[in-house]
């Protein structure tokens, strides 16, 4: 089955104030929503992985030429809202299903329990090999 990465950024949903302005209950409801959703995805046999990343404050940028010691800098960084905050990997029947799940992730509640509609990036994960023996033997990949 194809795998998809569903990534959420630090971008706020449309018209949603930053989390620093939410009540503790609203924050808790927001976090609980992810917990329930992930349990659902385990129960449906689709969740492969879920990962939350630390924020830009802890990030460094490293460059290297392969000979001298790597150079570590504190930037320049993309805008905070473009940073990936976390992701899930799901193993699903189809892209439609991945998009359906991404829709649920995006609907995570914010202030007043209203869905934040956070943008979710949906990316297909590369397979390790062509998945079809018949195609595998077609001249496309095996010929020439």
């Amino acid at each position: 089955m194809p795998r998809y990465l569903l990534a959420v950024t630090f971008a706020d949903g449309d018209g949603v104030p930053p989390m620093t302005e939410w009540t503790p209950e609203e924050v808790q409801a927001h976090l609980d929503y992810y917990g329930v959703l992930n349990d659902e995805l385990i129960a449906s046999g689709e969740l492969v992985d879920t990962t939350i990343l630390t924020g830009p404050d802890l990030a460094v940028i490293v460059t290297g030429d392969g000979q001298t010691a790597p150079v570590r800098t504190d930037g320049p960084f993309a805008e905070v809202k473009e940073w990936i905050a976390g992701f899930q990997i799901v193993d699903v029947e189809s892209e439609e299903r991945a998009i359906e799940i991404a829709g649920k992730v995006s609907a995570v509640p914010g202030p007043g329990g209203v869905p934040t509609r956070q943008p979710i990036h949906v990316r297909r994960v590369m397979d390790q090999a062509p998945g079809d023996a018949a195609e595998m033997d077609s001249y496309v990949r095996t010929g020439a």
Partner: protein, 413 residues
């Protein structure tokens, strides 16, 4: 528990996996509940994997497993009964009378029909089949598909619930329903075999070989329906394709094109077995898509060199296969075979004439690029290889296409 399984001697492992579907058959008939019986057998297998290496294999391993599984099942029912505080469930605990013996082949068939039931999505059917018929543990199946064990456990348990909800029971379906069910079983095994390709190059430590599993299960199925030509054709296809496996991957993991493979590395025994099976199947005069695919694979396998490949025959088989399936992938293959027989421009016109059907298929660019390359149109070919690489969903495929484009641009081949 999985550690015990990994350290099993091949002898015990084989014994357990051969006995698994037979034990499940007996238990499912006794209990009348496939889902619960399957859980009980899985627990019995894990218990055996823990005990037998230390205490020795019992004199009657089959009986040991049935007894252990039955005990687990009884415990389970008792637990349920206690929970519900319902007296009447206790009648279930009476040891049921042994039903008349049923041939193992019938049990195997009943099992695969349930596990590959058309109500199941292929991924669920594959997982359930590997566990119930293949005798693999949930941990092994999860590792093979690179998903967490909890996720795989849920996938299997949901699959069983679905089968149960569909009203199917552990009974051999009436003969008139079997052809359709067999079709669904063959499709599941075919997908499982392909899955072996898809996972064969990942991190492979302690991973079950899924193509090998598919072959093993196809053998079991064939034994249960020895007269079925398409089932023999499917097994032949698997053997004839798998014979090239070693030659297909370079030591660095790169795909080796068919024309460049070291043919001395092909598994002659598999080819002989596959060819014999295919000949027997074709003699039954019930041609089907797996037999045709197997026949194409056999023609490649039998060619002493890539140049000696019998392309006119392969082309004729693709024409038949296309008429039978209407599958666009087959059309792409026919275009390539046409190019090999009649030249690249003829191949390109096949693509043109089938443009509507092929629209959006992500391999069209790659095939067209290949045919343009054969016609000497290097620049156009390079551009299409690049476009094809951007649509690729598999890593080796993307690498291959990117390299083809680079080779054409830099002017060396």
């Amino acid at each position: 528990m999985t550690h015990a399984v990994e350290e099993l001697s091949p002898r015990i492992e084989n014994l357990l996996r051969t006995l698994a579907p037979r034990v499940l058959g007996v238990l499912a008939r006794r209990c009348g509940d496939f889902a619960a019986a399957e859980d009980a057998v899985q627990e019995a297998l894990l218990a055996a994997a823990g005990h037998w290496p230390r205490e020795g294999v019992p004199d009657n391993p089959h009986g040991w497993l049935i007894q252990t599984a039955h005990r687990r099942w009884t415990d389970h029912v008792r637990g349920e009964a206690a929970r519900r505080r319902r007296e009447e469930t206790a009648t279930l605990l009476e040891p049921p009378p042994d039903t008349a013996p049923v041939p193992d082949e019938d049990d195997t068939l009943t099992l695969v029909f349930l596990c590959c039931h058309p109500v199941l999505a292929p991924a669920s059917a594959i997982a359930l089949t590997l566990r119930a018929v293949g005798g693999l543990t949930t941990a092994e199946i999860a590792a093979a598909f690179l998903v967490p064990e909890a996720t795989m456990a849920q996938r299997i348990s949901r699959a069983k619930q679905r089968v149960k909800a569909s009203g199917a029971s552990f009974r051999l379906p009436p003969p008139q329903d079997r052809a359709e069910l067999l079709r669904s079983v063959r499709h599941v095994l075919y997908l499982l075999f392909n899955e072996g390709y898809a996972t064969s190059s990942g991190p492979a430590l302690h991973r079950v070989d899924l193509s090998e599993e598919a072959i093993r299960l196809a053998r079991l199925l064939r034994r249960a329906v020895p007269g079925d030509a398409e089932t023999a054709g499917l097994l032949a296809l698997m053997l004839l394709t798998d014979a090239r496996r070693t030659a297909r991957t370079a030591p660095d993991g790169r795909l080796v094109p068919l024309a460049e493979q070291d043919r001395t590395q092909w598994d002659r025994q598999r080819i002989a077995e596959g060819s014999a099976l295919l000949a027997g199947a074709i003699a039954r005069r019930a041609v089907g898509e797996y037999q045709l695919q197997a026949a194409i694979a056999a023609l490649h396998d039998e060619a002493p060199t890539a140049q000696a490949t019998d392309w006119p025959q392969i082309l004729a088989l693709y024409v038949l296969l296309e008429q039978m399936t209407g599958n666009p992938v087959v059309t792409l293959n026919r275009a390539v075979a046409t190019a090999m027989v009649h030249g690249p421009s003829e191949g390109l016109s096949v693509l043109e004439s089938a443009e509507a059907a092929l629209k959006g298929h992500h391999h069209v660019d790659a095939v067209r690029a290949h045919l343009l390359e054969l016609s000497g149109e290097r620049e156009a070919a390079a551009a299409l290889y690049t476009a094809a690489a951007a649509h690729a969903t598999s890593l080796p495929e993307r690498d291959h296409l990117t390299k083809k484009a680079a080779e054409l641009r830099s002017g060396n081949r």
